[in-house]
Structures are given as structure tokens and as C-alpha cells.
């Protein structure tokens, strides 16, 4: 019942933040920024948006620790996946 306490206005606020972030993302692609800067900005915005969806729409912010642990596991494993593939990505 604790999740019933979030009002609809709260969700609408998150929606506007997501909308603005998406517009900014598309806009900076057209700006012609340096490649590394653009990539860094885009990844920051994407992670930011994904976190907003998980925290507010999926109520992760208001859940017990169990679900947070479950949610974080695939990201930890993906980091391991990238680390383990490093020798193949950057030979020598």
C-alpha cells in the first residue's frame, strides 16, 4: 500500500524530465560535438533516463533491498563481461 502514496503529478514530473532529456539527446547529436564528448554525454543521459524509469516507474526507490540487489546484479555481470573481453577488444 506504500506505493499508493505517489501522486500522479509526481509521475508527470518524471515524464517531463524524460522528455526534455530525450530532446537534448537528439539535439546534441546534430550539434557536431567532438566524438568522445558526444559519446560521454549520450551515455550519461541514457543512464540517467534508465535510472529515472527504474527508480520511479518501477518503484525501485521505495522497495526493499532484495529487489535492488536483484536489479543491480545484471549490471555488475555486464561490467565483468566487458572486463573479461578486454584482451579481445584491445589485443596488445
Amino acid at each position: 500500500m506504500s506505493s499508493a502514496s505517489h501522486s500522479a503529478s509526481n509521475y508527470i514530473k518524471i515524464f517531463y524530465i524524460l522528455l526534455v532529456l530525450t530532446i537534448v539527446e537528439v539535439a546534441i547529436v546534430y550539434l557536431g560535438l567532438p566524438k568522445m564528448l558526444l559519446a560521454a554525454l549520450l551515455i550519461i543521459f541514457a543512464v540517467w533516463k534508465a535510472a529515472l524509469v527504474a527508480m520511479h516507474f518501477m518503484h525501485l526507490k521505495f522497495e526493499k533491498r532484495t529487489l535492488a540487489l536483484v536489479a543491480i546484479t545484471p549490471f555488475v555481470l555486464c561490467v565483468f563481461l566487458i572486463l573479461m573481453l578486454m584482451p579481445d577488444i584491445f589485443p596488445h
Binding site: 500522479a8 541514457a46 516507474f57 518501477m58 533491498r65 532484495t66 536483484v70 545484471p74
Partner: protein, 202 residues
């Protein structure tokens, strides 16, 4: 009397800081964690192939991002409708719930329509113009695998949400079931946000 109370207390499942409020929710989260690893594997594989390739087209120039930006918008709006549908059924407002879950499903169907249009256009015109097909080019292969895998999830979500809509109106499902369906739908939205960035924008 007190003996009965003790017996009753013993029959209750043990609470721990790790016990979830709802086992169904935990089940859905476990499924989503596994699903996230499928997507994670595909996205990491995409990144490695792209890094290792000498020639990789600028995705924006081949794919075009205006339609996809609209598709992102559709899924985000659809996610908001889903949370509003959940809030409505938690307040026992069935008419409002039907409206918002109906809109959620409509958002998913429109997304799939846009994707079908995009794929048709790419396969029929854009890729042949560039002399590549999805069988002879890593850029095209990874694109269709990633967006296709996600599109299958949207299709599954539309079917799932439709079943939930029917079950609630027949009185078999309640708010807690809607919440679990919502988790899946938001996850599909979340993954699209990442795919939109990595496949289309970067």
C-alpha cells in the same frame, strides 16, 4: 489461548530484511534481471563488433533518428500511462484504469507499427541503396538483432497487457497483478532508452 497464539506465530513465515513484500514481484524482478543479461550480452557484443570493425557507418546517417525519437517518445508516454493505470486501480477507479491501460496498449501497438515501417523502409530501400543487407554486414546484422529482440519484447508486452486488461475486467486480477505487468512494461521502455542511445545516437 496464549498457547494458540504461540502456535499461530510459529506458523507465520519468518520475516527478514530480505523478504520481499510480494513474491510475485520478486519473481518478475528475477526474470527481468535474466532478461537484462540477454540484452546486456547483445549490447556488449554489438559494442565489441563495432569497435573491431574498420568501417562502421554513422548510424544517424543510415537509419535516421527522427522517427526513432518519436518511437522513444511513444514508449515513454506509454510507460507514464501504465503508472497512471496502476494508480487508478489502486484507487479502485476502474473506468480510469481501463482508459489508461488501453492507451498503454495503444502506445505499444503504435511503436510496433513505426518499427514495421522503419524495417520495411530499411530493407526495401535504404540498405539496398548502400549495397548492404542484413546478412553481409555487421552493422545491419547487429541492428536487426538488437531492435528485433526488443520488438519481440514489445509484442510480448502488448499481449501481456491485453491479458491483464481482460483479467481485471473479469475480476480475476487486482492491483498487485497490474503492478507486476507494469514492471515488465517499464523494463521494455528502459531497454529501448539504452538501445536508442547505443544503436541510433552514438
Amino acid at each position: 489461548m496464549s498457547e494458540a497464539a504461540v502456535l499461530h506465530a510459529e506458523a507465520e513465515p519468518q520475516e527478514s530484511p530480505l523478504t520481499p513484500e510480494s513474491w510475485g514481484k520478486l519473481g518478475m524482478w528475477l526474470f527481468l534481471a535474466g532478461d537484462a543479461m540477454s540484452f546486456g550480452g547483445l549490447i556488449v557484443g554489438y559494442g565489441i563488433l563495432r569497435h573491431a570493425s574498420n568501417k562502421w557507418p554513422v548510424p544517424k546517417d543510415v537509419l535516421g533518428i527522427n522517427l526513432t525519437a518519436f518511437m522513444t517518445f511513444l514508449l515513454i508516454v506509454s510507460s507514464v500511462w501504465m503508472v497512471l493505470a496502476l494508480a487508478s486501480i489502486q484507487e479502485n477507479n476502474k473506468a480510469r484504469f481501463n482508459k489508461f491501460l488501453g492507451l498503454t496498449i495503444l502506445g505499444g501497438v503504435l511503436f510496433l507499427g513505426c518499427q514495421a515501417y522503419e524495417w520495411t523502409h530499411l530493407l526495401g530501400h535504404r540498405l539496398p541503396e548502400l549495397g548492404i543487407s542484413f546478412t553481409n554486414n555487421l552493422f545491419a546484422t547487429t541492428f536487426f538483432i538488437l531492435t528485433g529482440f526488443h520488438g519481440m519484447h514489445v509484442t510480448g508486452g502488448v499481449i501481456y497487457n491485453t491479458c491483464v486488461l481482460v483479467a481485471v475486467n473479469r475480476g480475476r486480477y487486482e492491483a498487485k497483478h497490474v503492478e507486476i505487468a507494469g514492471l515488465y512494461w517499464h523494463f521494455v521502455d528502459l531497454v529501448w532508452i539504452l538501445i536508442f542511445t547505443f544503436v541510433y545516437l552514438l
